[in-house]
Amino acid sequence: MGDWLPLLVILVSALAGLAIFTLRQQQHGLRIGLNLGAAVLKLSLVGVLLAGVYQGKEYSFSLPLMEGAELLLRPDPLALLFLTLSALLWLVTTIYAIGYLEGSPHRSRFFGFFSLCVSATAGIAMAGNLLTFLIFFELLTLTTWPLVIHRGTRKALHGGAIYLAYTLCGGALLFIGTVWLYTLVGPVVFTAGGALPEGHGLSEHTLRWIAFLLLAGVGVKAALVPLHGWLPTAMVAPAPVSALLHAVAVVKAGAFGVVRILYDVLGIALAQALGVTTVLAVLAALTILWGSLRALAQDDIKRRLAFSTISQVSYITLGAAMVGPIALVGGLVHLVHQGLMKITLFFCAGNLAETLGVHKVSELNGAGKRMPLTMLAFTLGALGMIGLPPLAGFISKWYLGIGALEAGQWWWIGVLVLSSALNAAYFLPAIYRAWFRPPPETWPEERSLSARHETSLMLLLPTLFVAGASLITGLFAASPNSPLAWAELIVRREYFP
């Protein structure tokens, strides 16, 4: 069973997705059963995988596709970091989405693609070579597009078209880079320290081109400036989708890809020698500041969160590009932390929109009195983002800062501090309005979703769960089971032994 396990992890959600497609709208119970069953099953399979990898077991599934090109699934510790995050958040998001989409049309289609999308993410995480990574990377584009345009409105279609244009072009660049590398050196199997064989004899010029193609390809999904244009318009998607895109699947896949390409394809030493890391770090820093600045100007909550995502995801890229073990730990752990915090914020935004019809920061006045639990979660997430100790965001930023010093690149600390200040500048007003301003006479579009609670439990519980998780990961970062510990394990075992 061992070698089939990675495939099984992917198939669980993929088959569930296909099965859900065939369901009729009214087959509500069956759809929920399939959704949750697959999510729980997947999470437990990932648990088995996690334990195995922790003990140093090797899992590897391969299927030859063409001569010298195979589909290879080989989960390493880094893969597990991403995989566990996605499996866990999928379960939570599924529950949330069931509550969120109650009574809306085309639910079978929605949940079908939702499951497929998570399969693609799992594939990206476990990809053992560049081709496999490319395959699942493109599949992710395909399966998320229907989710982005799910509402079918003119705005949604427009957002979807932009999303496609960006990601398909990114995929095309990645495709060329991948084929190029395969043509020159044969199969590119992810290897810590670089996949290029000794004495590959490639000129720096060629390597720079390839690095550019690969990184630009993943950079689109990572929303690296100037490739970030799709993300704010993709906001038209339903809240669970935004949550998934921002916290789990798409942008994370991009950031994860950056790490893979730097550390497992080029090898960090070569990447540094080519100057790739410097360029990347500068771009990441620019993105961090640019995203924050733009977020300041947004009144729409989801758009503000979207620009915040652009900014926050680049912490991961920055951590990876600083070239140093501690910075890398900071970047990797932010993959998880940002996921938890951002999903909290999106769930809150969804709750506000569904329950009160609140879409804008300016409408938040007194929301804390009407929906205290939701706003508590929002506050936790926002403060975490700002980097207030002992929340999760603080841990990431702390490691990044120390890492910058260790790498002798102290100037990044300036970026981090500035970014934190900007974070505070766009989050604190929202929190202030929610708690300290009086509520309006009527909410824009209030709906009674629950008689006893502030909103439907299906919406509330997942929100509280992820908020709690982001608190706990910060509080107990030092515990051996924390994401931080796992990130350190990755860095120690693989990249900076």
Partner: protein, 486 residues
């Protein structure tokens, strides 16, 4: 059965079936046709299996060896194309009768005549894939061309007949050029057998003129830009099952013949820049076909123009004349055959169910026909060359070849073509997914029967699976690689 006999059966059985289907009362034809399809398809797959196991198979008809006699030859390429035809034919046999019953605009007896005509077409395709003799291939081309025109005319409306007439005139003209080329080759070499001709031909005036004429003739039939103008009308106005046959299979037959003639006869004597011209035309076709497809307002015209674009990919091999590109080209022919057949059948279903084929009126159609639009999406994935489809594998190989040769314009064209394909396929899906829920639409109501919806889905799935099982066709193909490419 002797494996060599299979080759003969593969041509004669569909011929015999065509005659039987013509004689049989109209009420019997569907059952007989389906039975015949099953038989022919099994023979084709059996032959592919034999070739995979034992390598190429040759048979001299009447035991008269070439140069006097006629040879049929099944190598990896033939086996793959035969198998493709069989794999398209099987779902089609389920879909076509259901389609003709439902479609009122088609001629009343179109369903009855579809079977004998399609069997003739199948015989011609098999013959062309197996032909080892230039003149025999001419007869095959005429058989295929006439059957194709008659199939288009089954559409019945004026537009279909006009397209059929134009198709007929151009197909005949193409055959004439081909025959003229063959005449010159016979004058130069005194033989008609492909292999023998390849072994003895010299680069003189006659052989160059012959190459030019044969290539032009076959290009017209394959509809490479700038000879594509007949294709969109013919493919778009034909009945949907016929469009699937024409776009998926028929244009490939003349392409395969061109491939053989080019690489087995002429490549050894050197072609100069001629291959470059074909490659450049291929690029032009990709761009122009895609741009036209984007402008179309009718779904079947869009799909037909997509064929023009996708055929362009096939011709890149002539400029990137290496083994990898050859494999990529053939793989592309296979995956396009499956995907395009699926797409045309699905398009036909959409027209049947909605009563129109206007793209901008498709709003919300995906909700009514989820399975059909899922098929469109799956087939689209293969046409766009997105993983893990057959189209992806094909583009992978072609890209490898282009990069290996340092031919960057081709790299850009191959990838750009994918993006352009996305540019015309996604809007189709977007329109279908757009729009809010229509309360009048009863949930779960079936607008189309299973016989209509599942065959295209099967084809699209096969196109997708081809990407995961690309090694199988590749290993078949390695047995039939032209010597000049090895």
């Amino acid at each position: 059965m002797n494996p060599a006999d299979l080759l003969v059966w593969l041509v004669l059985l569909p011929v015999l079936l065509a005659a039987l289907l013509f004689v049989a009362p109209e009420g019997w034809r569907t059952r007989l046709g389906q039975l015949g399809t099953l038989l022919c398809a099994s023979l084709a797959l059996l032959l592919a299996w034999q070739v995979l196991q034992h390598g190429p198979i040759s048979v001299a008809l009447g035991n008269w060896q070439p140069p006097l006699g006629i040879r049929l030859h099944a190598d990896g390429l033939s086996a793959l194309m035969l198998a493709l035809t069989a794999l398209v034919a099987l779902p089609l046999a389920a879909h076509a009768p259901a389609w003709f019953v439902r479609h009122e605009a088609a001629q009343s007896r179109a369903g009855a005549f579809f079977w004998p005509l399609w069997m003739f077409q199948w015989a011609a395709l098999n013959l062309l894939f197996l032909a080892g003799d230039l003149f025999n291939a001419y007869v095959g081309l005429e058989l295929s061309g006439l059957a194709a025109v008659a199939l288009v005319a089954l559409g019945g409306q004026r537009a279909a007949l006009e397209a059929a007439l134009r198709y007929l005139l151009l197909a005949l003209f193409g055959s004439m050029l081909y025959l003229l080329g063959v005449a010159l080759l016979y004058g130069a070499g005194g033989v008609l057998d492909l292999t023998l001709l390849g072994a003895q031909l010299e680069a003189d005036h006659a052989s160059r003129a012959a190459l030019l004429l044969i290539t032009l003739g076959l290009l017209i039939k394959t509809a490479l830009l700038p000879f594509h103008f007949w294709l969109p009308a013919a493919h778009a106005n034909a009945p949907a099952p016929v469009s699937a046959i024409l776009s998926g299979l028929v244009v490939k037959a003349s392409f395969v013949l061109l491939l053989r003639i080019w690489f087995e006869i002429f490549h050894p004597i050197g072609l100069g820049g001629a291959g470059e011209v074909l490659g450049a035309l291929g690029i032009a076709a990709i761009i122009w076909g895609s741009l036209q497809a984007m402008r179309q307002e009718r779904i079947k015209l869009l799909v037909a123009w997509s064929t023009v674009a996708q055929l362009g990919y096939l011709f890149l091999i002539f400029a990137l004349a290496v083994e990898l590109a050859w494999a990529g080209s053939v793989l592309h022919a296979l995956s396009h055959g499956l995907a395009k057949a699926a797409l045309f059948l699905a398009a036909g279903n959409i027209v049947l169910a909605l009563g129109h084929d206007q793209i901008h009126r498709l709003h919300g159609a995906a909700g009514k026909l989820p399975l059909t639009f899922f098929t469109v999406a799956l087939a689209g994935v293969s046409l766009m060359g997105l993983p893990p489809s057959g189209g992806f594998a094909a583009k992978w190989l072609m890209l490898q070849a282009a990069i290996d040769l340092g031919r960057w314009p081709y790299v850009v064209a191959i990838i750009g073509g994918s993006l352009l394909a996305a540019g015309y396929l996604f809007p189709l899906l977007r329109h279908a997914l757009a729009g809010t829920h229509d309360p009048r639409q009863r949930e779960g109501e079936r607008l189309l029967s299973r016989w209509l919806e599942f065959p295209p889905l099967l084809l699209a799935t096969l196109a997708l699976l081809l990407g995961l099982m690309a090694l199988l066709p590749m290993s078949l193909l390695s047995g039939g690689m032209p010597v000049s490419l090895r």
